[in-house]
């Protein structure tokens, strides 16, 4: 099973991870195709966040975690890479919008660039504007770039966080339930935005919302109790799932 028109940029092979006592995810094998959106769905506590955090080694920031197996980014094992370098290529957006509270809107987007150093001859202001446009936020904030980021609404803050992640030009963007703290309108905006971003980068998204997965993703993985039960094209997963447990979950027959 593969995507003929693209290639697998990120891949988990035999990936297990846990928090000290036992594994939270077990033996996950999964491909993430370049310039496609992959959704990870499953009931609460099944290990979606654990899996997505492993993909840019953010799980290491929680003391006592362990991991086995391989995650390969363009065929390089990320566990042998410098985590700082890795995270510049594999960005992350979290469940709750977390803009830097002490900084302005502009500084928030520029933060990663200031850390990593500006590439090419583009100016900071240009990159900030481009990133805000990509995140479909520029028109709403262009007159108040120097205001505190916390003055924005929740949905705007989340798009600001996406802009912040985009500014360092990652190859892969990981989103862990990016819409769960937002209302339907803000959610729709983010979904639209993800579909636009798909031209430029690979997106991996955890979601609780099956309609959302069906609407935006090309590929879907269904997890249950730490295992990847089924992985396939989104339309196939939602119309003709091969595993009865997937069938139960997507039809809402799950406890």
């Amino acid at each position: 099973m593969s995507d003929e028109r693209t290639y697998s940029i990120l891949e988990a092979r035999g990936l297990s991870a846990g928090y000290g006592s036992g594994d939270a995810i077990r033996n996950v094998n999964m491909h993430f195709y370049d310039k496609r959106i992959t959704a990870i769905i499953g009931p609460s506590g099944c290990g979606k966040s654990t899996l997505i955090r492993c993909l840019n080694r953010m799980h290491e920031e929680i003391p006592g975690t362990q991991v086995r197996g391989v995650v390969a980014l363009s065929e390089r094992n990320i566990f042998h890479m410098d985590p700082v370098r890795l995270r510049r290529q594999v960005g992350m957006v979290f469940q709750r919008p977390n803009p830097f509270p002490t900084m302005s809107i502009f500084r928030n987007v520029a933060a990663g660039l200031i850390l990593n150093g500006l590439r090419g001859e583009r100016s900071l202001a240009e990159v900030v504007e481009t990133s805000l446009r990509q995140a479909a936020l520029f028109d709403e904030v262009k007159d108040k770039l120097d205001q505190p980021a916390l003055n924005l609404s929740g949905g705007q803050q989340q798009r600001l966080c996406i802009a912040r992640a985009l500014a360092v030009e990652p190859k892969v963007l990981l989103l862990d339930e990016p819409c769960s703290a937002l209302d339907p309108i803000a959610t729709a905006k983010i979904e639209e935005l993800l579909l636009q971003l798909k031209d430029q980068l690979t997106i991996v998204m955890v979601t609780h919302n099956m309609q959302q997965a069906a609407r935006v993703s090309d590929w879907t993985g269904f997890m249950l109790m730490g295992e990847l039960v089924e992985f396939g094209r989104t339309d196939e997963i939602f119309t003709t799932p091969r595993d009865p447990r997937t069938q139960d979950y997507i039809t809402g027959r799950f406890g």
């Binding site: 920031e61 995270r87 979290f94 977390n98 509270p101 002490t102 933060a111 992640a165």
Partner: protein, 313 residues
């Protein structure tokens, strides 16, 4: 509502009222005590203020025999020794707090913090004794080196007696270090995890995360800790009296003996015979009171200003 319920409601309300008045009285007692103290200091010092006027604060003679009194040498000694302590303990304390909060494993961090808090509990006479037996000879031993290499600065000239401003600053820095470290650590630990993760996910190193997120977020709290420590240093009496040399003069050299407001109160209050001398001492006490009060108010205001109640969506 049943009869029983009504009665219960009534007694509950009575208890409520009793509690309210009790708490109110306790609160008023504290305020009253502070007011009484201020009043006593004011009336006990009125002779000095009427004799010398505000010039009392910037006159530098202190002579109980000729009855000339000015607070400047003590003000100078208090401010300079405290500033010195802050210059030493500030960077050290904040640095170790960053280490304990951000880099050290939690268990080691907690253990270190326990010992640091023990340091804060050491009585100041004991620290003063340590100062006499360790710091004074230590300063005497290293001062020739300082004089030789940094002697071009006015701070490092003169005769090193061992006792003096530098020793006082050192002992004060030991006393305030625990405050700065443990409060700053606490403030740094309260930086929300999602913010740090946001920085890390952007490809920030540990240190960059501290600089980008933790320090700006914790800034006002850390400043508060520093000012709280400063308030403590300004009022510290025993340990300083034991090592500062107790000589009311103003000298740029840190090796020279000096005097602080708290120290002169401790030394002379019991022996003051003339009314004017007594009132001059009370005037110094009042000045010190205002100084530490202001410093504590500033500290509290800054700690309360920590952005914890920020808007979250």
């Amino acid at each position: 509502m049943s009869k029983g319920g009504a009665v219960a409601g009534l007694t509950e309300r009575a208890g409520d009222r009793l509690f309210r008045y009790g708490v109110l009285c306790a609160g008023l007692a504290v305020v009253g005590l502070a007011a009484a103290l201020a009043l006593e200091l004011a009336s006990g010092s009125r002779l000095a203020w009427s004799e010398f006027g505000p010039a009392f604060l910037w006159s530098s003679s202190w002579n109980p025999v000729s009855e000339r009194f000015g607070a400047l040498p003590f003000l100078y000694g208090t401010l300079v020794s405290s500033a010195l302590a802050l210059a030493i303990a500030g960077p050290l304390g904040v640095g170790s707090a960053i280490f304990l909060a951000e880099l050290a494993p939690r268990r080691i961090s907690d253990a270190c913090c326990f010992f640091i808090e023990i340091l804060a509990a050491v009585p100041s006479v004991v620290l003063g004794l340590m100062g006499i037996f360790i710091l004074v000879p230590g300063v005497r031993a290293v001062s020739p080196f300082l004089i030789e290499h940094l002697g071009f600065l006015p701070f490092f000239r003169g005769t090193p007696y061992g006792v003096g401003m530098l020793t006082a600053g050192l002992i004060l820095s030991i006393m305030i270090l625990p405050y700065i470290t443990s409060i700053s650590r606490e403030v740094l630990l309260s930086v929300p995890r999602p913010l740090k993760e946001a920085a890390l996910a952007l490809g920030a190193t540990r240190w960059e995360t501290v600089r980008l997120v933790s320090l700006p977020y914790a800034r006002s709290g850390i400043l508060g800790a520093v000012f709280l420590a400063l308030g403590r240093a300004l009022g510290e009496t025993m340990a300083v009296t034991m090592v500062i040399g107790n000589s009311p003069r103003i000298s740029a050299s840190l090796f020279d003996p000096a005097y602080t407001m708290a120290a002169v109160l401790a030394n002379e209050l019991a022996e003051a015979t003339s009314d004017l001398h007594l009132h001059a001492l009370m005037a110094i006490a009042g000045t010190l009171f205002m100084l530490t009060l202001g410093m504590n108010a500033l500290a509290r205001w800054m700690i309360l200003g920590t952005p914890t109640a920020r808007r979250r969506p």
